[in-house]
Symmetry: C2
Subunit: 237 residues, 2 copies
């Protein structure tokens, strides 16, 4: 079917002038710190400033496909956990024209990375972010907010940790993301009684000097403990 069969083509073509891009906040956990991947931008007009890695989407390309391509170009693989969130669509957010961007976050267990990053990419501690290009600081804020909510309501921590992990790293991810501290005993009790993970009977020695070896756990895939969601009446907006 040709457009002109349906609408007056003068008027309809007027709408087809936008571009799309994907931008990703890749989050990892390394050296006991949460970090995100930033890219130093070489192109004019971004004079070596940093931003989120991103890519324009071809007119005939699927959004998720474009994301897979981008992820592979960044870290060599695309089979990490990723989630598409809101779009950023302010008319003047990009100097080249109207570009609506699809923001994602991705979770990467640092241990699964098997190639060096190209020179313009850097893992940056989440607590030490610089000023970024365009509206990328806004994107980071919104995406991190989503990540925090997801972390509270879903078992996504395990996507940022290696297959065999220790409990203190789980707690660290929660504490750093949510910026609060948890009681270790209560935290262990809760996560263990949920049946989500299982101890392996293997132990890993502390990397620094000293310290009792920590037990390794992994996801318990065959658990099916159903817990009903509860209604919350506080919490507006």
């Amino acid at each position: 079917m040709k457009k002109s069969e349906v609408y007056n083509s003068n008027s309809i073509d007027h709408f087809f002038r936008g571009a799309f891009s994907v931008d990703i906040l890749l989050i990892t956990y390394h050296d006991k710190k949460l970090k995100i991947l930033l890219q130093e931008k070489k192109e004019i007009p971004f004079q070596n400033e940093c931003g989120l890695p991103g890519e324009l989407i071809l007119p005939n390309e699927d959004v998720d496909e474009a994301m897979e391509k981008l992820m592979t170009s960044l870290v060599g693989q695309s089979n990490f956990y990723k989630k598409q969130l809101t779009t950023f669509s302010n008319i003047n957010r990009h100097p080249l024209g109207r570009i609506v961007t699809f923001a994602y976050y991705g979770l990467i267990p640092f241990e699964r990375l098997n190639q060096n990053l190209s020179s313009e990419l850097k893992w940056c501690e989440i607590s030490k972010l610089p000023k970024l290009i365009l509206d990328h600081n806004d994107i980071v804020d919104k995406v991190l907010q989503h990540f925090r909510e997801d972390l509270l309501s879903h078992a996504i921590v395990f996507h940022i940790l290696p297959q065999k992990f220790i409990l203190s790293d789980v707690i660290q991810v929660y504490e750093q993301t949510l910026d609060e501290t948890f009681d270790v005993r209560n935290f262990r009790k809760k996560i263990l009684s949920s049946g989500t993970i299982k101890p392996l009977g293997e132990f890993r020695k502390s990397k620094s000097h000293g310290g009792r070896p920590a037990e390794l756990y992994e996801l318990n895939t065959n658990k099916k403990k159903i817990v009903k969601d509860r209604i919350r009446f506080d919490h507006f907006n």
Copy 2:
């Protein structure tokens, strides 16, 4: 800045060929039933099939602005609760070309509507949806899923009810949306002890014949009971 100053314009222009639209799932509660607004589509190729109300976005138009315009054209006002959710971006989702649509839901207290709907618009019971055009059934499913999650985690019920409401309607909205039943005594206890609403000492007689008059409540705006979010370890995906 002109595009050609920055990139080779042949290559960059190639990306600016997409269009945007907004689609909205307007939800209301009337006659003890949840309903959504459907629009009968007259244009070729939609032969009187129904779909969600929607509109193309002008190249220089903000997405939220376009939504306000759309909402006003539908129900005469735009100051209802609305929330932008995910986008739908499959390459071939629309016969006219690549149109990425921004899906919203909006909550409308039926009592606040003060004009008749134009003839192609109909409120349709949520449990009796017909087959819709394009990917609109998928959009409805995803948006309703969001609505359910929001209803559990946020106090948005009150946006779909009139300013003065009765408790059994609150419960109805929850029961119909989540497709489960609640214990009336426990539900009341919970919502009242949360301090979210306050009784008005006014009563409304039952519309059908018989029945004890129900007390009216309204939102308690000056409450500030802070409840910490709890971590959930079950609940994957």
